[in-house]
Symmetry: C2
């Protein structure tokens, strides 16, 4: 297979565009142009890359092989409708938006599944890419491109991407909320959360090698009613009683359904 | 301060005793004897250390400076009552048991806060030690001993240790349950949980540098009711609707209480 060398226009100059454009260039792709509505970020990124930029939709180059919309979710549909790119492959980078909001026939999704902030250096090799495309040649092209950046490339359609988002809310947003509750409980007793950091890290690392169901520990899974009662007693005045109760009952009932 | 060199009897030969005895010996302490009810683990560990062992409570050496009870929670109280060690310092290694179940005047707790399994090599430097003692000289001695093993040593009394346990249920047991729900949701769509591993790892790592409250993300904290409705719709037939609802409402209300 010949070396991949695409002409790419990056639409957007925010966090995702910032890192993605540089990494694509590092991997031998040609960033033809940056489009961004406001001028300063467009200048910043295009001068970093040594490429052209524009702030006018009408001036977006027609000469690229691939147009990557790395802009906020709420702007994708409008912008995709306003650019005039017949026959060109247009993709967005969002986890939450369906592929079909892009009106061109050749459309797709190129979604890096990680929290991305501009300041923090990214190791792309640890970022999963979720790929979708309306045409199989374009799907293959996006797979080849993603594989240049990361070994973790997945075929994920729009429905799966929505489900992935629900799962990520549990695994990440709600886990962080559990850390917040722990922090709040410890704070009242003058204990720093860092004391739990090694255990939190180990809990997150364990699921690389094990199914979470197989490594569930704690009073609920042991049905240690004496400890659970002590915890209820401690929590009953506060905001977290209901959460402790529902999650404890759910762990117990999940486990009983297995038997 | 002179180099610490204690004569220690380890009561127990399970996971904690196994790692702790070897690490204490590596750090220049003298393991005088292993006591264990059943003979095989006692032989295994004592031959690894090159020290004496016994399976009879009456034969426990009277010559040690420190007796460490590294046995299961439910056995601590009984054993502490049956050994006859007047004037000796006796400690247990449990997170859940109060110091005062040990009847000797010189008593304490020497609690390593990490999941410990026999097979897995431990890096003691990453294990927080929670120390408590009835007498301040003994507290100082245990602090010096713990500091040989780890830079993370905390003064935690029995009440704080109970609260720490409640917090650990949220931060670790309940987080793992969130991973389990994510795994279950993804499994139905043939998506492997590994796709979320980098995000889970980053979420756990973030709280080293930030308060969890400051880095809460997701539809609840954004009050993104459109996405929340989509997620409700997806979850409404299943077991996880109530959990999603309670946690989402709690995140929203926690945030509103701040304003």
């Amino acid at each position: 297979m010949s070396k991949l060398s695409l002409n790419i226009v990056l639409i957007g100059a925010g966090n995702v565009a910032w890192h993605l454009a540089q990494e694509l260039q590092n991997k031998g792709q040609n960033i033809l142009q940056i489009y961004n509505r406001s001028v300063e970020p467009a200048i910043d990124l295009s001068s970093k890359l040594g490429c052209d930029f524009t702030t006018r939709i009408a001036d977006i180059s027609q000469d690229a092989d691939l147009y990557i919309l790395a802009i906020k979710d709420s702007a994708i549909e409008d912008l995709a409708r306003n650019i005039n790119l017949k026959g060109k492959l247009v993709v967005h980078t969002s986890g939450a938006i369906e592929q079909d909001v892009i009106p061109t026939k050749r459309r797709g999704v190129f979604y890096p599944l990680q929290t991305i902030s501009k300041e923090k250096k990214l190791n792309f090799k640890t970022i999963p890419f979720c790929i979708e495309a309306s045409k199989s040649e374009d799907y293959n092209l996006l797979m080849r491109l993603a594989t240049l950046l990361s070994p973790m490339v997945y075929n994920i359609n729009s429905h799966q991407r929505k489900v992935l988002h629900v799962a990520a809310v549990f695994a990440c947003n709600f886990s962080n909320f559990m850390y917040m509750i722990a922090d709040d409980i410890l704070h009242k007793e003058d204990i720093p959360l860092e004391i739990l950091q090694p255990l939190i890290k180990e809990t997150a690392a364990k699921i690389k090698r094990h199914k979470p169901k197989g490594v569930q520990t704690g009073p609920a899974i042991r049905k240690d009613s004496e400890t659970i009662e002590k915890h209820f007693e401690y929590l009953k005045e506060g905001n977290y009683y209901d959460i402790y109760k529902l999650l404890t009952e759910s762990i117990i009932s999940e486990n009983e359904n297995e038997l």
